[in-house]
Symmetry: C2
Subunit: 373 residues, 2 copies
């Protein structure tokens, strides 16, 4: 492949002129510029990024640091980032932090960013102190998506508000026996969203004098399969909630599948609500709290581009996208009366002591709706 020298020779000018003509900066006479352009395209010339980067100090690459990219949310954010950056001639360097298990992650390392990226976009993972120090030392623009990190601009939804919306809707429907899917093992300290959502869930319930017992709280890996496995055990119990709030749609899918596998009707016997508006949530008819995931990626890309152009993108910048409740067929009010009257689920103890007596006395039926699969 040809170098700038080849083009210079072919066009009969110096390399400096080629450089100037090709980048369109400085003044170059139209005639020589055309000659250069012709020679360059003739030779399929493209400037070596390595050489350009060596002298300019910029790489036109943006490191995108993600805990997983094999999952819908992250792949969608990254897709939004990539399209935005591509339009400006930048590209994405994938930095997948995924470790051997859900509980572990790889550290952000210097050699995946140093002189290789002009900036970094961090998805949903609060950096550890050493990583924080590294990023500061690297002195490149950083944008976070999904979490607010002090010192950096961010793009996100309000996880607590989203969960409050979901939980609020469950209460509004009249549910008082509410389970939760989406806590994570204590070892997972690198993800903020699971904590925020769980906390908001607990708070909203508490405001109504309700608590969700541990047996109804499903700890899982935030996959549909993981949620299914845990929900499977939940629905095998003699008592189960009339509604399960899942911290993500994918987990909601798993919970719904488990309920049906146990002969429960959704939403007749159990309502399920998720968060995200996953690409499959509509056809699976899952009530959810919608967030525009790709837009978060696009917006993060734009912020990065602006920072790269030298524009001041303040750390105070905190773009919080709206979320919206989308009611679909996976939720309904709890049954106020059992159809047969025989198989009334025993009310869990914690519910009998709350103030929400008006509805808490209407537990679900454990075995109706067995036809629905």
């Amino acid at each position: 492949m040809s170098t700038i020298g080849d083009v210079a020779k072919a066009a009969g000018v110096s390399v400096a002129t080629v450089s100037r003509a090709l980048r369109g900066v400085d003044r170059v006479s139209p005639r020589t510029r055309d000659r250069v352009l012709a020679a360059a395209s003739e030779l399929h010339y493209v400037a070596s990024p390595a050489a350009t980067s060596l002298v300019s100090g910029r790489t036109r690459g943006i490191g995108v640091i993600t805990p997983y990219f094999n999952r819908w949310f992250f792949a969608t954010v990254i897709s939004g980032i990539e399209k935005t950056l591509r339009d400006e001639g930048h590209h994405v360097l994938l930095c997948d932090l995924e470790g051997p298990t859900f509980d572990t992650r790889m550290p952000i390392t210097q050699n995946m960013l140093w002189k290789r990226a002009d900036g970094a976009i961090i998805l949903n993972v609060p950096p550890e102190p050493s990583e924080r120090a590294l990023l500061d030392r690297l002195d490149m623009p950083v944008v976070t998506v999904g979490n607010r990190q002090s010192g950096w601009p961010s793009v996100r939804v309000d996880d607590r508000a989203a969960m409050a919306l979901a939980t609020g809707y469950a209460l509004e429907l009249g549910h008082r026996a509410i389970g939760y899917a989406g806590t994570v093992p204590a070892s997972v300290t690198h993800l903020q969203t699971p904590f925020d959502r769980r906390e908001a869930f607990g708070e909203v319930l508490a405001q109504h004098g309700i608590t969700c017992p541990p047996a109804w709280t499903l700890e899982c890996d935030w996959t549909a399969q993981g949620a299914f496995d845990h929900a499977d055990r939940l629905f095998a119990r003699p008592d189960h909630p009339t509604c399960v709030v899942a911290a993500s749609d994918e987990m909601a899918f798993g919970v719904i599948a488990a309920a049906r596998r146990h002969g429960l009707d959704v939403p007749g016997d159990v309502s399920v609500i998720g968060i995200d508006d996953h690409v499959h949530a509509q056809i699976l008819d899952v009530t959810t709290v919608r967030q525009d995931v790709e837009a978060q990626g696009r917006y993060a890309g734009e912020l990065m581009l602006r920072a790269l152009k030298g524009e001041e993108v303040s750390a105070a910048h905190d773009h919080v996208l709206e979320v919206e409740l989308v009611v679909r067929g996976s939720t309904a009010p709890p049954r106020t009366r059992t159809s047969g009257g025989s198989s009334v689920t025993r009310l869990p103890e914690h519910l009998t002591t709350t103030s929400a007596s008006s509805v808490a006395t209407a537990p679900s039926v454990g075995s109706a709706g067995a036809l629905d699969r």
Copy 2:
């Protein structure tokens, strides 16, 4: 950030010695080596990839060219690639070809590969002639995933065999009125899989003297939502198949959802079978043909690594992974008799003229099982 010169100064040696010590090549006295290592880590030194690349000609980056990043199959392949490359210190350069619509794609451009990548892995998209010429001109190792391209080694499953397995199973169950989801608009010429699968489907049917009428052939964008929309129209017809073979699990999800939305029981009234073993196929209880998607990515990554090491990875190399039928709850034999006898679907004309009379006389019921949602 520090350069090799800073380290040399700090260790009291020349830059050449630093370079040698750090890379562990050539002979360096243990004592000076330790001094260099200490100085380097003290200064957080990491060699500039640009400078290294400029002189060595290698970037340690591999371009991964994909028609979509945002879909399960591709994200999973890429995940496998990335993990494999990362272990050897290489990284992935994302080249997402996705254009504004399903029908269009961006071309593979020279400036996303030239001097930026040491090799390219192409996912499921046969390059156009000009792209082919570019890749040849770039003279870098290329591995294809999902399709066989002459001149390059490949990793894939046999799409035709996979579809034959799915279709064969439908026939084995006794279905003769079989629909298909997964043809693509004529403008989509850059994806091979849709064609291979459709062709194999038609051939297997033909071997049994059956054809699938156009009205039962759903052309869509290979998303669950797209399949849902088309299947929605299919199930609104007075006649509909007793089984739908979908060219991907995601489309199968959409078909199943549409069937249920029309009050049809799956598999009672309609069987649905997919291909892929998508991460949600198990909980959604979808019969499918399993392929190990991440393994294809891993294997492609290994091939690339071997080629990069100078090993001869012949273009004749064609690694075809096994596929496997996974029978789940979305399929069953067709009903041989209507329960009520009232709402018999009119037999589509093409079926009355085939030789498959023994089963073709047992069409599905259009309105039973309305309880299943």
